[in-house]
Symmetry: C2
Subunit: 309 residues, 2 copies
């Protein structure tokens, strides 16, 4: 019950991307006591989106019978072109703090799911693209230009497939949802049989991560193989990060992982343990986050709390 | 003149590897005021080597007219099997501190060459193998099992050449001195012409990094190409580290770099800047260390000073 919470301890986290805006109000124990979700409508332009973020925040606040004035707010940064912080502070009349989305997700997992116990944690988020966040010595690490954690563009195969960034063989070009979908569509064009075309038609319109899981469960060996390959590349990326940073915990999230944990996690762990140098892996954990879609709003709330302390 | 130094501020750094032991006495300003060098004679066993380390320390101390009792000592760790710290403390009657060699080298470069100005620095050492060290937020970062910085086994080319560690396509298998020599010897066996065989005979016995430089200076395009390839892989490894850690300075050292800086550094910088994500490289520097062979003993002295503070 909201009445049980000291209202001054409540913070709100916002996560916004190209398709949706999520806002969550969190109490002193980082329990989510109110939430709202609206579509982004990015095509309507920056002003409209900022207005929609503000609306989403107000809806989440209304949900839990709090007054907006009591709340600090931290959206994830997914957008550099607009003076987002200033505009939102004007609209909401509260301080706003921004941070890169994968950093925020890692922070949320670290503080709420891992209870800030391990000192060094690497977060990996597999979705349309691949991003990461680093907690080093108990703190979010962001580096000289605040760009640390761009693990999706770590080159794993110099002569590999072209990546959106212009390089070849980036982790993202080998193991993101985009990479998996591209491989499937290319193979189907070349005559590969798959249950996916039965499910979705020959053009594989509206293909989603969940469809891959369904096809695998129904025995589609082709889709299984493609997903396994992505899991192996992810395992190699994890081993690189273990060799470089020797974290205590590697936590993997993102939409792809949420849908395909059963199919991917064991292969990721096995490959990473096999590739990492002896001595580096003793006692370390490679796990999937349980926060799912809430990692961003949870991390936003943690960030807001840190700024308000 | 040693008399000008406050003797209590003197520390000694030791760097030992498979072939040689280096010891250096450093004053309060980390100027080296005495040094000694002996061969390791690793084949004579641990006890003999420990005795030789102690002898090397005594010779360096004798060199600068100090009494051993005034000195704190920090050898690099290159050896896990022997209770090295205890044995040396017994022999030298002084506290001894141990640390991984590439970590120590990075620490030396950071404190003495870079004057501890940048917050985040990655050190890369190209030699027989490839190792690294990380200074993050102004401190040596070592991770959960104290193994952080194993950058030589970052996979850059999943389908690349076999590495000593059992994996394929590690940075070390693509760009170390061992990798370069292997490529040259393989090509020579297959009939490749090179000035190196004129210089060293058909078996390329006693091939050294300096020979590569000499051959390139005399116009050997084959050797130039092999070295350029190693520099390109190093540039890609640097870009991976920039994407992941976004350091302010990447500093490259090691025997290979010392001999081939003119041939490699520009290519490394160009490749890294080309591969790294836009936004990550603004204002960052990729440089070669000026400490050369002294990076280890300098870092050892820094470590000893830190422990004595």
């Amino acid at each position: 019950m909201p009445g049980e919470n000291d209202r001054k301890d409540c913070v709100i986290g916002v996560d916004f991307g190209g398709t949706k805006i999520l806002a969550g109000v969190f109490d002193a124990k980082f329990e989510c006591i109110g939430r709202a979700r609206v579509s982004t409508k990015a095509d309507r332009g920056a002003d409209e989106v900022i207005g929609r973020i503000a609306r989403c925040v107000r809806e989440a606040v209304d949900e839990c019978d709090l007054d907006l004035k009591e709340i600090i707010f931290a959206p994830n940064l997914g957008w550099n072109d607009v003076p987002l912080k200033k505009e939102l502070e004007k609209l909401l009349e509260r301080p706003v703090f921004l941070e890169n989305d994968c950093n925020v997700c890692t922070l949320g997992v670290y503080e709420v799911e891992l209870k800030a116990k391990p000192r060094d944690v690497v977060g990996i988020f597999l979705g349309t693209g691949i991003g990461g966040g680093l907690i080093l010595e108990g703190k979010l690490y962001s580096g000289f230009n605040r760009t640390a954690g761009e693990i999706g563009h770590m080159v794993l195969e110099v002569s590999g497939p072209k990546c959106g960034c212009g390089n070849k063989g980036c982790f993202e070009a080998l193991a993101s949802r985009t990479a998996i979908f591209r491989k499937i569509k290319e193979a189907v064009k070349e005559g590969q049989k798959t249950l996916l075309t039965e499910m979705l038609g020959p053009e594989l319109e509206d293909l989603r991560s969940g469809d891959l899981r369904k096809a695998i469960k129904r025995g589609d060996k082709f889709v299984e193989h493609i997903v396994e390959e992505a899991a192996e590349y992810t395992g190699i990326a994890v081993s690189n990060l273990i060799n470089i940073l020797n974290p205590e915990v590697v936590v993997i999230g993102g939409g792809l992982m949420e849908q395909l944990e059963d199919e991917m996690l064991a292969i990721i762990v096995e490959t990473a343990m096999d590739y990492a140098m002896p001595g580096t892996t003793k006692g370390i954990e490679i796990i999937a986050t349980r926060l799912g879609d809430d990692a961003g709003i949870t991390g936003g709330a943690v960030l807001a709390r840190k700024h308000s302390e």
